[in-house]
Symmetry: C2
Subunit: 336 residues, 2 copies
DNA sequence: GCTCCCTCAGAATACGATTGCTATTATAGC
DNA sequence: GCTATAATAGCAATCGTATTCTGAGGGAGC
């Protein structure tokens, strides 16, 4: 059953191996009668071509690589990644590609990823997620002309293919919603100040304030590390203002959630006294109390665009545009 | 830089291509001086062998396949899978293997997995997660002698390699704990009835009841899909019993949380009126209110054993024993 | 000095599928 | 009837590496 080769099919069908190959590739230069004959044998024996040989000959593995720049422990707890992986698998499958996933946490494994996946031609292209310290790698990738696409990072300066959420628009949406529902002293708790995502969402926040003529108060800005304590402490500071904020836009669900907890601990009622909005619409949002209103990132769209761009690159087409933005969506729950 | 072949290295080092191959494979039958000479050229040019050619020649791709029998939407929200994937990647990497992930939910994708991954020899072996008990594919895999390992399923009858949590023991632990803390009408919300994990945990639940002489009431059993709605609806049904349950063992954290939420919506106080225990100890458990007591599954151990067994099979060693059990641990929080 | 053995590197081949080129046949056009 | 043309299948080279086979060279032992 297993371990059949084209040449055996050819022998049994009384044709040459080249003909079997042509039939399987759907080559029109094959007579119908002969095609039938070959297909009958293929069907009967359940022959499937050997991907290894095809890869060598065609110089294509039909394998995409997904590299996540995060330690596996951090990856482990984050549902964003299982969603992303699942979506990419699904999209890749539509084009007969498979997905090879790797994490690049240590320096050693970073080298490993790039060398072992890419230079060895094990995959036809790469999708990179959450790359931060990789500037040199990206330059190298571009330099070698290897097909790759970034998710969640962009650099207007370079002509690299990327897909990202509409962070400015998403923060605008959150802030706009809060203003429309009567909030006026809206605080923003960002992540580390250096991150693009922190800056972009701050911009969206400011845009919304301005578009409604709501005054911008820099004291309502806070920047937090990605830790529960840091977010809680930022919240405490905000609550000491007079008057205190009546709403908070958090950089992500965990920051918003930690802030919300802290506010409750200070006796604030949510959403009556103060409203909260997070980002990512993680499963967490459903389960906390009050449930957290959040800006949903359209992960399937992110995956679809990234996959399609990458496959286009692999197959020699030039994707237009090189940078794609996926719109976000407000998921209203109890906290705002 | 790219697209170097052994033969070019050979030419530059003034040796034959075979020698280059030998040096790279660490063949001892090669003179030190010549080895140095070759390695110098390899280093300088940054040559890496082509994995496609190696695969064809060696009949090994050094790629493991991970097949998850769940729709991508269900996979998406579940942190268990990102943890599992991350751990398997890490373990596989220690043996210089990479991981190819696929989902198998639709008939089309099932065919895709088995035909395209395995029969095409695209991967050297498979790890199957959450396969249903009556899976014909598994019989076929065994029949064709392909290396594969099951996670979360076993069948004492067949000699298939598998790794599983101690589901019976874990559910026993949960139920036993509830009984010891005074609960008597303990409900069990399983997943789909065909899954081994559903059955095993049910068994552990029954064992605990029996060992304490607590009566077993089949009306306290419910089976849910992996969706919030389904779990909530199961909970609603359970609450309509008289008397209602005073505790719930959920198949996983998401099911337990959905049920807990639903119970609270019905006015139940947790844990006073009703206690909840989930499985997987996902990050979620910390953040909900009350925080969820959960049975922690040792995912890294699961991944390590599965990966090691699979690689053993691939490399022709017979793993002993064929079935491995990973113990669980109770993480006590507020909900029970 | 000769044989024997041992070490080691090169030549040749295999892995299984694809594809450019060629050979054959059929058909048409004159 | 003969050539031009098209249709179609086969031959053989090729993809880049691993490995078997072969042979050259050197040292040891008599």
């Amino acid at each position: 059953m297993a371990d059949l080769k084209q040449i055996e099919i050819a022998r049994l069908a009384g044709v040459s191996q080249a003909t079997v190959s042509r039939v399987l590739k759907g080559d029109p230069q094959v007579n119908d009668a002969m095609r039938e004959r070959v297909l009958a044998v293929v069907q009967e024996l359940g022959y499937v071509p050997d991907a290894r040989a095809q890869s060598l000959r065609s110089q294509r593995t039909r394998l995409l690589g997904l590299v996540v720049h995060r330690a596996s422990e951090a990856l482990a707890g984050d549902p964003f990644f299982s969603a992303l992986i699942a979506s990419i698998i699904e999209q890749a499958g539509r084009y007969d590609y498979h997905l090879c996933v790797d994490t690049a946490r240590t320096a050693r494994s970073q080298r490993a990823i790039y060398e072992e996946l890419l230079r060895t031609r094990r995959v036809d292209g790469l999708i990179l997620v959450e790359s931060e310290t990789h500037d040199k790698r990206i330059a190298r990738l571009s330099g070698e002309g290897f097909p790759f696409v970034l998710i969640g990072r962009y650099d207007p300066a370079d002509a690299v293919c990327s897909v990202d959420n509409d962070n400015v628009g998403a923060a605008f949406m959150a802030t706009d919603y809060l203003i429309r529902t009567g909030r006026r002293r809206i605080a923003y708790i960002g992540g580390p100040a250096g991150l693009t995502v922190t800056r972009d969402r701050l911009q969206g926040y400011k845009n919304a304030l301005e578009s409604h003529g709501v005054g911008y108060d820099p004291r309502l800005l806070a920047f937090s590390e990605f830790s529960e304590r840091s977010a809680a402490s930022a919240m405490t500071d905000l609550l000491s203002l007079t008057p205190p904020p009546d709403a908070v836009v958090g950089l992500d669900d965990l920051i918003a959630l930690s802030a919300m907890r802290e506010a409750k601990r200070h006796g604030c009622r949510v959403p009556d006294d103060i409203a909260f909005i997070g980002f990512n619409d993680s499963p967490l949002c459903h389960y906390v109390e009050p449930s957290l209103t959040s800006i949903a990132v359209d992960i399937p769209a992110l995956a679809r665009k990234a996959t399609e761009m990458l496959i286009a690159l692999i197959e020699g087409r030039e994707p237009q545009p090189k940078r794609q933005i996926v719109p976000a969506r407000l998921v209203k729950r109890e906290s705002a």
